[in-house]
């Protein structure tokens, strides 16, 4: 009797917390899944960048890059230098624009600026994933609260399904009633990808836990965000930078042979940091050098049980150390976890349609579901289409790409709510947006092919992967739309 009561209460908690948080969690999981390949998506969106396989930066390129960093700092821009890696073969001089790191791309052989189109790139998905474009305090805090909601919903779901958890591990019945099939699909994806979902939810909440449980008063954080630190504008304050090559070699030795990831330049010193890709423990270990002579000031290596645990949590969540094969496993797991949340939301509506389907609140909830589950993919595909269709030399085109994404998504949201509230067949809203996904997804490889054929040859793996995924989603959306049409008929 007690257990039944507990299950009933957990059912309520799972349904409502899952649905309310799920509306945003689908977006967070989808963009997080795409962010697994953020560097690759950025490469796809900048076809002008030539393939420079295993190109090591030359002394000339490094010196030219350090001069550029100093020039930008003299103008008050807090720029830093990102070194080439296995995933990105170029030098980058980046600064934070309030949402993501943007800046110049340099040829690692010559140090010349590569005239690539400005793009929001895959970093947009990364930024959206962890902050919902809401900034460092409100956005990240909201995502953290939603992450906690996910863990609550998952915990409640485990209690509800505990008795059948192991026996029904691979249970899927598609030929029974529609609601039972959706429940099986939800349980299947939810249970099988439970380790991944819990790991990502827990580590995600933990890496930004300070945003909901701040160690410093919130007022301090707000004041810090309101006035971001800027470097002194006077060029006289910036010491000249010695040749970087010997410093990189020294840093590599002092960091235990780990690759160097990026270099931060202060007025009188520079810090060379270990690459995030050098292992599962994502550290900020670095070596400091004094300027202008380049003498070693010290090595900072953070160790200890708490620090190491946090480094592992960061490493597991950011997944920057993973090879390509494991990255794909993360991607597939992310998609299936998203599907688990989305199917739960569909179930929530199905269970209440008969009793509450006529109510305005239900219709709006369904409209929001349409906007989230089918509207978001339309927005994402439009973002990729926008990258190819907007003129490459257009000023401020990176913001226009983002505008395209939000505009199309807003249109989908409006369409979903109108279709849900104003028609007798709410399924038409789902179907029409699935058709839009199918058209945009299947058209993506064609759009890419008529563009720059050189980029296709140079980055064939990346183009095949992204175009292939677009086409695959298009085909899946077309199949679902067709099935819905058949059922309606």
């Amino acid at each position: 009797m007690t257990r039944e009561t507990l299950r009933t209460r957990m059912g309520w908690l799972h349904a409502w917390v899952g649905f309310v948080c799920g509306l945003a969690l689908v977006c967070i999981f989808t963009t997080g899944t795409l962010a697994v390949f953020d560097t690759e998506i950025t490469r796809w969106m900048q076809p002008e960048i030539p393939a420079l396989a295993n190109a090591q930066p030359t002394d000339i390129a490094l010196d030219r890059a350090s001069r550029m960093v100093r020039d930008q700092q003299a103008r008050g821009m807090p720029a830093f230098l990102v070194l080439p890696s296995a995933r990105s073969s170029v030098l980058e001089i980046l600064h934070y624009d309030g949402h993501e790191f943007v800046g110049d791309i340099l040829d690692p052989r010559t140090g010349a600026t590569i005239p690539a189109r400005a793009t929001a790139g895959g970093k947009f998905f990364y930024d959206f994933h962890y902050s919902l474009r809401g900034g460092g305090v409100i956005g990240v805090g909201l995502v953290n609260v939603l992450g906690t909601g996910l863990l609550v919903a998952v915990g409640a779901g485990i209690v509800i399904h505990l008795r059948a958890l192991l026996p029904d591990l691979v249970m899927l019945r598609l030929s029974v009633s529609r609601i039972r099939s959706w429940l099986d699909a939800h349980l299947l994806a939810g249970v099988l990808f439970l380790p991944f979902t819990v790991m990502m939810g827990y580590t995600g909440v933990l890496v930004h836990a300070d945003r909901i449980l701040p160690a410093t008063p919130l007022a301090t954080i707000f004041r810090h965000d309101a006035a971001p630190a800027r470097l002194p504008a006077s060029p006289l304050a910036l010491s000249p930078v010695p040749p970087l090559r010997p410093l990189l070699e020294t840093a590599r030795l002092r960091l235990g042979g780990r690759d160097c990831g990026f270099i931060l330049f202060s007025p009188d010193r520079l810090g060379i940091f270990a690459s995030d890709a050098s292992g599962p423990f994502m550290t900020r270990d670095h070596v400091d050098f004094g300027l202008p002579d380049g003498r070693v000031l010290g090595t900072t290596v953070t160790r200890g049980p708490v620090a190491t645990t946090l480094q592992l949590m960061h490493g597991l969540h950011y997944a920057r150390f993973l090879p390509l094969s494991l990255r794909w496993l993360y991607f597939v797991s992310g998609l299936c976890s998203t599907a688990a949340i989305a199917s739960g939301m569909v179930l929530f509506l199905m269970k209440r349609r008969r009793k509450s389907g006529h109510r305005a609140a239900f219709r709006i909830a369904e409209g929001l579901c349409i906007a989230t589950i089918t509207g978001l993919p339309v927005g994402i595909l439009s973002f990729l289409w926008g990258n190819r269709l907007l003129p490459a030399t257009l000023t401020g085109r990176e913001m226009l790409e983002i505008d395209v994404f939000f505009f199309i998504w807003a249109v989908c949201g409006l369409h979903g709510i109108i279709r849900s509230c104003c028609t007798t067949s709410p399924l038409s809203g789902w179907r029409e947006q699935l058709v839009a996904t199918a058209a945009l997804g299947c058209g993506l490889p064609l759009l890419d092919a008529v563009g720059d054929a050189t980029a296709w040859r140079q980055w064939s793996g990346i183009h095949a992967g992204i175009d292939g995924m677009g086409a695959l989603f298009g085909v899946v959306a077309a199949c679902v739309a067709r099935r819905m049409k058949d059922r309606a008929a």
Partner: protein
């Protein structure tokens, strides 16, 4: 190769898991001897998968082990559903 072996091991494990409950999954029943063999495989194959996965390192190994379990489970569920349906 590590991923493939782990995936295969989990596929075998979860297939055995389904076949050990033929009534639940609407599958044809199997003989007592095969059931015993399946029980043994269901215990040994995940350990084999873990052993192989850990060659990629402790952290990456556990990630591979868990991810291949999930993906193999999806594949087995779809195949078992098709078999039961027919």
């Amino acid at each position: 190769m590590t991923i493939l072996i782990s995936l295969l091991s989990w596929t075998i494990t979860l297939s055995c898991h389904a076949w050990l409950q033929p009534a639940r999954y609407h599958l044809p029943p199997v003989s007592r001897t095969i059931q015993v063999a399946m029980r043994i495989v269901r215990v040994i194959a995940p350990m084999l998968a873990l052993g192989v996965a850990l060659t990629a390192g402790p952290v990456a190994g556990v990630l591979v082990w868990c991810a291949t379990f999930s993906i193999a489970g999806m594949a087995v569920a779809i195949v078992v559903e098709r078999l039961a349906h027919h």
